[in-house]
């Protein structure tokens, strides 16, 4: 089991630690509901240093990225980030990721912790263009500082104007007394804020200064449990739950990051799927009655016949109702469609809704 550079800090704060993707990670501190509210209403900090970081460099860096990713990375300019997928050859997804254009011919790829080795080997196997690849995962830490008060709370830590960094843009600059930190206006919560990339040797100083700067704003550490409820209220996909090696980006609703303006892994088959229309789609649903949908529960029709599967589900802390994502036949994917979720002995009625579940 790996630790992050902050594991002992989390333990000292009384976090409940769990194994996650091979790392010893904080799942909660004071409790998931309170932590969720902190991020929705003020500002909270996640240690997500388990995430993987690859640097792709050189004359052919963009060629390699365009080959392996579904979104069109040629649209990136320096200081912009892009959400994307790595499609596999069989219609599924190797991983989802964020691609940052750091400078000309230099890109940072941020991938899921559980997929670091798989992604590295996959991208390497496609690198017949001679791009330079470096795995920085073990050297870099990542803090997500999220919530509506993040900008105001963190401004004193940098000479840059944080409010001027637009969503999915980033700068490389000073932060918490450290130079060359990536300050990125990205996140996985839907409540705004930043993700901060720095070296492992620097992250304790950053963490400590972030808490001092955020003190008057009620800043708190947030665990992975609240990270999951926050992302699910926005309908953001979680790799391993909602998308995986067997789900296509088209059926998962990731057509917006699947651009057929270029050739990439399996692009012809995916384009055909898009034109034809997928047989099933990932939908968002709310339960009409009490109950909590969970990953793996069956979605059934009025006769109790299984028609799909729940991929993520929880009790929404913001709305206090059962919400989830799941695959259903395309004919039942329209907003307003009625489906049922099999929860133990009962088929609980549910309605397909538009994302996000949570609206400010």
């Amino acid at each position: 089991m790996k630790n992050t550079a902050l594991t002992s800090t989390h333990e000292a704060l009384g976090a409940k630690m769990v194994p996650f993707a091979g790392f010893n990670m904080p799942v909660q501190y004071e409790g998931v509901t309170a932590e969720h509210e902190t991020v929705r209403n003020s500002v909270g900090v996640f240690d997500v240093s388990h995430m993987g970081e690859f640097l792709i460099e050189g004359e052919h860096a963009l060629d390699l990225i365009q080959k392996v990713s579904s979104n069109d990375a040629s649209k990136l300019t320096i200081g912009k980030a892009q959400y994307s997928c790595l499609p596999n050859d069989n219609g599924g997804i190797v991983d989802d990721l964020i691609i940052y254009k750091v400078k000309e011919q230099t890109y940072l790829l941020v991938v899921n912790a559980s997929n670091i080795e798989k992604d590295w080997n996959w991208i390497k196997s496609k690198n017949d263009v001679g791009a330079e690849m470096r795995d920085l995962s073990d050297d870099y830490s990542l803090l997500a500082i999220q919530g509506p008060k993040a900008v105001e709370a963190m401004q004193s830590l940098t000479s840059h104007d944080l409010s001027s960094i637009a969503f999915y843009n980033f700068i490389v600059g000073d932060f918490a007394g450290i130079e060359n930190v990536i300050i990125s206006a990205t996140g996985y919560t839907g409540s705004g804020g930043f993700e901060i990339y720095c070296k492992n040797s620097e992250v304790k100083q950053v963490w400590d200064k972030v808490f001092v700067a955020g003190k008057d704003f009620g800043i708190k550490p947030i665990g992975l449990a609240a990270r999951d409820t926050l992302r699910l209220e926005m309908g953001y996909c979680l790799y391993g739950n909602d998308i995986d090696d067997t789900t296509s980006p088209i059926e998962a609703g990731l057509g917006w990051v699947t651009k057929f303006t270029k050739k990439f892994t399996n692009s012809e088959a995916l384009e055909a799927e898009k034109l034809r229309g997928p047989e099933r789609k990932l939908v968002a649903f709310e339960l009409d009655e009490r109950g909590i949908p969970r990953h793996g529960y069956d979605i059934v029709d009025g006769n109790g016949k299984t028609i799909g599967v729940v991929t993520s589900g929880t009790m929404s802390p913001s709305m206090n109702k059962g919400i989830g994502l799941g695959y259903v036949p395309t004919i039942l994917s329209e907003v307003g469609s009625k489906i049922n979720i099999q929860i133990r002995k009962n088929a609980i009625p549910a309605t397909v809704v538009k994302l996000p579940f949570y609206k400010k």
Binding site: G31, T33, A225, T229, R290, I292, T314, M315, R344
Partner: protein, 126 residues
């Protein structure tokens, strides 16, 4: 860790309060702490007579679902319906307002099989 000495316990982390042939059942302070924020308690077995160890309901935390096992055989005569709207009482007051069911037991000799507070303390290493 709060483990009241006047109550009995099970290895499934439930507490049992005995009053004649009626028992009140809930989950322990240790159990609520391990589960985290409880968001739903489902009991659909009121008026049913079940054997010891059978599932009488389900408690759902944000991240996990756990079955609730009947400590001794008997008829489930009441569910604490206030938990429908305030399941968080299981976290805040597990031995009081967070009680879950009352059971009428036909055979009170079964009570001998329940754990004492000291037994339960040893079980969880408290």
């Amino acid at each position: 860790m709060n483990i009241p000495s006047q109550l009995k316990y099970t290895k499934d982390h439930e507490w049992v309060k005995i009053e004649g042939d009626i028992i009140t059942v809930g989950i322990t302070d240790f159990a609520q702490g391990e589960l985290g924020d409880i968001v739903y308690v489902e009991v659909e077995t009121v008026d049913e007579t079940l054997e010891a160890e059978e599932i009488f309901g389900t408690v759902e935390a944000v991240k996990t679902v756990s079955d609730l096992f009947l400590p001794v055989s008997g008829e489930i005569i009441e569910f604490n319906s206030s938990l429908e709207d305030e399941p968080e009482k299981v976290n805040s007051d597990p031995y009081g307002d967070g009680w879950m069911i009352k059971v009428k037991c036909s055979d009170v000799s079964q009570f001998d099989s329940l754990l004492s507070a000291d037994d339960y303390k040893a079980l969880i290493g408290a």
